[in-house]
Assembly symmetry: C2
Homo-oligomer: 166 residues x 2
């Protein structure tokens, strides 16, 4: 990944040794989103699904003055209208005490460069509608708010119930 | 895929020979969503990205009395909170003249069974907020409307601009 001379921010691709760090950042992000009660992920699952035979997502870690301070976790999606793969940013997180230093922007730009290299048609992500500072930041970057779309979700209890009865 | 005796509905996994059919269903769906102007996908891209070395999505085709009448196109996503892969349903489409026969529901249930077999933590999809009949259908199935989330998108022109200037 890119590094300017004397730039305190370095962004690196995560490897399997980073799993404990990734887990702690996931938990911090969930706490910030007031969703910690939904977090049941374990180190074992992260090892299996991020660094096993089939990799379901990739992770960038941001280091500021050599301390790990944030991450971007993403995977490929596919747009049938564009016809090409895209990148979906599942989690973007910077520790609160390191915000305002361009770290989130640095992670997002690194991700956009990856999307550009891989010839992706889109980069997409979701944001909570009360998170105005994030929304302002994304709009400033040129991202479009797909306001008329709503996400629907079936959770695992519903999945197994429907799969076993219908 | 499953078939009851005398059931007019059969659901099959698509193969590369189905590309012209998939393209025509994508275009019909876009027309229904009033988004046909956004569709630039070609047969060549569908062959490459759905049936090439790396497969970015999978497709189920619904046949009613042996005629192809709809499809579900999906890929895997990853939830860091759940820790497991999920399924994201990018496109669900049934030709208008075949609606009301349980074909959309049949496709969705087949997809939920795949999610269950693959031990997925979630099945998710997006719906336009004016598409009330779809919303009612999804709610009846037990899906949750993630109302407070908004999707943000960077398109390829913005991706290349940011990648080349920042």
């Amino acid at each position: 990944m890119s590094k300017l001379k004397n730039d305190p921010l370095i962004i690196k691709k995560a490897n399997i040794k980073d799993v404990p760090l990734i887990l702690s950042l996931i938990r911090e992000l969930a706490e910030y989103e007031k969703l910690l009660h939904d977090v049941i992920v374990t180190e074992k699952e992260l090892k299996k699904y991020l660094f096993g035979t089939k990799k379901y997502a990739e992770v960038l870690i941001a280091y500021f003055e050599n301390a790990p301070v944030g991450m971007a976790l993403f995977f490929h999606n596919y747009s049938t209208f564009v016809g090409k793969p895209g990148i979906y940013l599942e989690d973007l997180y910077v520790k609160p005490e390191y915000r305002g230093k361009g770290i989130g922007k640095g992670l997002l730009i690194e991700l956009i460069k990856i999307a550009n290299k891989r010839n992706c048609g889109r980069v997409e992500w979701a944001v909570l509608d009360w998170n105005q500072s994030a929304i302002d930041f994304y709009k400033k970057l040129g991202a479009e708010n797909m306001e008329s779309w709503r996400i629907f979700r079936l959770t695992s209890d519903k999945i197994s119930k429907i799969a076993n009865t219908l």
